[in-house]
């Protein structure tokens, strides 16, 4: 079930009403939320719901066992092997086979392996990471095992975050589940502003930008300089609007049901360094990678060489988490390399570190361009396509700007960038969450009108569903 479908809107209103009606019976309320979450996922695939159930039961049992057995490490390994094994099978099996076949073609064609017919379960990367974090935290002793299976099952499968995050920590979720989940008017206004922004970002901006960016990335060798350059920036905003739009809807829906989730995006294109970018982009994943990968790899505690190694490996694996393709690895590698370069060289340069306005603008400009250029690898289907995009930018004629063809999209992108910078610096969304009733109603009505008038005919699935 997609957030941007009529089915979801009806479903959510029913769940909201039931959640309100069952307020006095917490167990019934939680059961209803769990049933609704399974129904939500089942609309995509009832069969793959089995993987969620399996993962839930296993990690629930392991969580309880970790505090009772003599060798908890073994249980941790079972959980890691099972969860990562499932993820590896569904997500990376064919990638490994394709790479194996590449080697086999060169050495011994008889070793060729037929690719498997595997459908990637929606949300597996998200709920696997969420479930793993619980087991690791219980193992580390930073979390206590949850004895109530219903609570734990809801933590894994709660529908607002199930398909594309945010990746919530167990202690955050259970604090909300156990706390006072009454929703006052201020919370409701906050939630409705988030949901409205989310729908507008996805349906008005992301889906329309896709109509410009997709043809360019689908056939990059046939494009000129300006088409390519504008498509790169269009994709930068498309993926931001798509993913942060999804997150806004997810967080808003959770808030209406009484769960406050951590922020997942904080105007990432305002960032002045790449490190700052990762504190603002997909924050729940960055936090997960930091806590369960970067720090265990040594973090910054063992000297510069180890730090850069940890940084690089974390970003490479973070890239691979997004999808089974070398392009994602290159994307992660580019980010890792620039993060290391920032740390090793740029941040030691006084001019670069200066708080003068010109220096800050230069830092922002460089960071924004690095992020956009890295998106080329993220969006291109193959490495050859990425090369074609770079070739267009390198060899294309910059004088061939056609105002009729490029003017509109260029203006739209400039307006989006201005709105993004203004939002980041002035907190437009937060202001609206606290605005008086007239400003709130006017803004929300304007957003609804934008959605009605500018949503393209065909609805486009959220990009992060494929991860």
């Amino acid at each position: 079930m997609l957030f941007n479908s009529l089915h979801f809107v009806v479903f959510f209103f029913v769940v909201l009403a039931l959640n309100q009606g069952l307020r006095r019976w917490p167990a019934a309320q939680k059961s209803m939320l769990l049933a609704a979450s399974y129904y939500f996922y089942g609309q995509w695939s009832w069969a793959y719901l089995g993987i969620i159930l399996w993962s839930t039961l296993l990690d629930y049992a392991i969580g309880l066992g970790l505090v009772r057995v003599r060798h908890p490490r073994r249980l941790l390994l079972v959980s890691l092997a099972t969860n990562l094994g499932l993820l590896a099978f569904f997500k990376y099996a064919n990638f490994l086979i394709a790479n194996w076949n590449g080697v086999a073609d060169a050495l011994a064609p008889a070793w060729h392996v037929t690719p498997m017919d595997i459908l990637l379960p929606v949300g597996i990367s998200f709920y696997t990471f969420q479930s793993l974090s619980y087991v690791i935290d219980v193992y580390r002793g930073t979390s206590r095992p949850r004895r109530n299976l219903l609570d734990y099952a809801l933590f894994v499968a709660f529908f607002p975050q199930l398909e594309a995050g945010p990746i919530v920590r167990d202690y955050e979720f259970f604090a909300e589940l156990d706390g006072d989940r009454r929703v006052d008017a201020a919370r409701m206004q906050e939630a409705l502003v988030l949901i409205a922004f989310g729908y507008a970002k996805k349906m008005v901006f992301a889906d329309n930008l896709a109509r410009f960016a997709d043809p360019v990335f689908d056939a990059p060798s046939q494009q000129g300089f300006w088409d390519t350059l504008l498509a790169v920036y269009a994709f930068a905003f498309q993926i931001y609007c798509d993913f942060s739009g999804y997150t806004d809807i997810a967080i808003g829906c959770a808030l209406l049901l009484g769960f406050r989730y951590p922020q997942n995006f904080n105007y990432p294109y305002v960032a002045e360094t790449l490190q700052d970018f990762w504190r603002r982009w997909h924050m729940s994943l960055s936090r997960w990678l930091r806590d369960y990968l970067y720090i265990p790899l040594g973090g910054s505690r063992h000297g510069p060489a180890r730090t850069y190694f940890a940084l690089m490996l974390t970003m490479l694996l973070g890239g691979l988490w997004h999808g089974a393709s070398w392009n994602f690895v290159i994307w992660g590698g580019l980010h890792g390399a620039w993060l290391a370069f920032e740390r090793a060289v740029l941040m030691r340069w006084t001019v670069w570190r200066s708080e003068a306005r010109a220096a800050r603008m230069l830092r922002w400009l460089v960071t924004f361009q690095i992020v956009c250029l890295a998106w080329i690898f993220f969006r291109s289907r193959t490495f050859a396509d990425s090369r074609a995009v770079f070739a267009n930018l390198w060899h294309g004629s910059a004088v061939a700007f056609d105002p009729a063809k490029h003017g509109g999209i260029a203006l739209l992108l400039m307006a989006l960038l201005a709105a993004h910078l203004a939002g980041g610096l002035r907190g437009t969304k937060t202001r609206l969450m606290q605005a008086g009733s007239a400003a709130y109603a006017g803004a929300l009505a304007a957003i609804v009108l934008l959605v009605i008038l500018f949503t393209p005919h065909a609805s486009v699935p959220f990009i992060y569903f494929q991860f």
């Binding site: 009529l6 909201l16 009403a17 309100q20 929703v183 006052d184 008017a185 409701m188 206004q189 409705l192 209406l256 509109g408 009733s437 709130y440 109603a441 006017g442 929300l444 009505a445 609804v448 009108l449 009605i452 008038l453 500018f454 949503t455 005919h457």
Partner: protein
């Protein structure tokens, strides 16, 4: 829940206010003149001109009469009799347009005495012509018409194009998007259309001088010739050929279906809707229904077998009881079993020569049916 409903009520009310403004026609001033809605807006604006304060006769129909009937001649003929004739035929018009337009005319021009309703036999297959027809009727319809319009374009929640039945915001969505994409081009185009006089809009002919002799019009073999052609019009013709071949693939035997008792539901619906619509007209003089000429490829290979007969069957009781006068020109441009290729510029529409040939035949008939005799048949209430 009450608090929640209160919070969403105010934005929803504001959205409904804007919907109301769109329903009231606020966007009509900016509607794309070249679009279906825009064509209707131009005609509606022209009908508001002082020179058309009184209208006696109208021509209603699709693009076939738009090209195939000489509107200047009809207007001149009306003027000879001291009356005013306005052409309201528009590309894409079908039964829903005729229904909504005649109701609008009954409200704004109750003085109308009669008119020409010109369609082709293909229009007797279904009551609807696709959701795009909503755009044509929008400037003329009222919210109360939605129920009747749904009989022609059924509401489908999976097809946002049909949401225009109930929401003007949805109806004008694409027009607004187009405006935002190129606002200056739209304003320029609107400016040009505003310079056109009411009479240019309501009586001028559309001119087309190309013919189909390079391709023929008698069979789908014409489409093979189109496919191989480098003619500048070939793209349009290829698109039409694609449609024609699609229709030919699904060609039904309407004659056999018409022999069933009762006839299939879609035929019943068309028959009943057309009859009710024509009987519902309150014009003092019976409308003159003209079945426009159709190239032979349609009757021989594309249209359902027996469609011409079915169209006549639908109209027969109306002719017999004097509700309508019928001029059947379906095969008028066929000479010895072959369609006159000099009379059409594509597979649907006549050119200037075809129009002249048709008018030579039907103008005297129209004159005698519309302009002679007493006003109003005795059977009319």
């Amino acid at each position: 829940m009450r608090r929640f409903l209160k919070l969403i009520a105010s934005p929803i009310l504001l959205v409904l206010l804007v919907e109301g403004l769109f329903q009231a026609g606020i966007w009509e001033a900016l509607a794309k003149p070249e679009s279906h809605a825009g064509a209707s807006v131009q005609r509606k604006r022209a009908l508001g001109d002082a020179s058309y304060a009184r209208i006696d006769y109208v021509t209603l129909g699709s693009s076939r009469p738009e090209y195939g009937i000489d509107h200047e001649q009809l207007a001149a003929l009306a003027a000879q009799h001291g009356t005013v004739h306005a052409n309201l035929s528009m590309p894409g018009s079908h039964w829903m347009t005729i229904r909504v337009l005649t109701e609008w005319l009954a409200r704004h021009h109750p003085e109308i005495r009669g008119g020409v309703i010109a369609l082709a036999v293909q229009d007797f297959l279904y009551t609807g012509n696709g959701a795009y027809e909503l755009g044509i009727v929008y400037p003329f319809r009222t919210p109360a018409d939605a129920g009747e319009m749904a009989a022609h374009v059924p509401f489908d929640r999976n097809d946002p194009a049909t949401w225009g039945l109930y929401s003007a915001l949805f109806e004008y969505r694409e027009d607004v998007q187009d405006f935002v994409r190129a606002p200056f081009a739209r304003l320029h185009s609107l400016g040009w259309w505003r310079t056109r006089s009411a009479s240019e809009t309501l009586r001028a002919n559309a001119h087309e001088t190309h013919d189909m002799c390079a391709f023929g019009l008698d069979s789908l073999a014409a489409c093979d010739r189109v496919a191989a052609s480098t003619d500048e019009r070939a793209d349009d013709l290829r698109r039409q050929c694609q449609q024609l071949r699609g229709f030919a693939r699904d060609r039904a035997d309407l004659a056999a279906l018409a022999r069933q008792s009762p006839v299939p539901a879609f035929m019943q619906q068309t028959r009943d809707t057309v009859r009710a619509l024509l009987r519902g007209l309150r014009w003092p003089k019976p409308p003159v229904v003209v079945l426009m000429p159709v190239p032979r490829v349609w009757t021989s290979e594309v249209s359902p077998v027996g469609l011409h007969h079915w169209a006549l069957e639908v109209l027969r009781p109306l002719v017999e009881d004097g509700t309508i006068r019928l001029i059947d020109a379906t095969e008028l441009l066929d000479d010895g079993g072959r369609t006159d290729c000099t009379s059409f510029f594509d597979f649907y529409h006549q050119n200037d020569a075809g129009r002249a040939r048709l008018m030579a035949k039907i103008l005297p008939e129209i004159e005698s049916l519309m302009h002679a005799g007493p006003t109003g048949p005795s059977h009319r209430p």
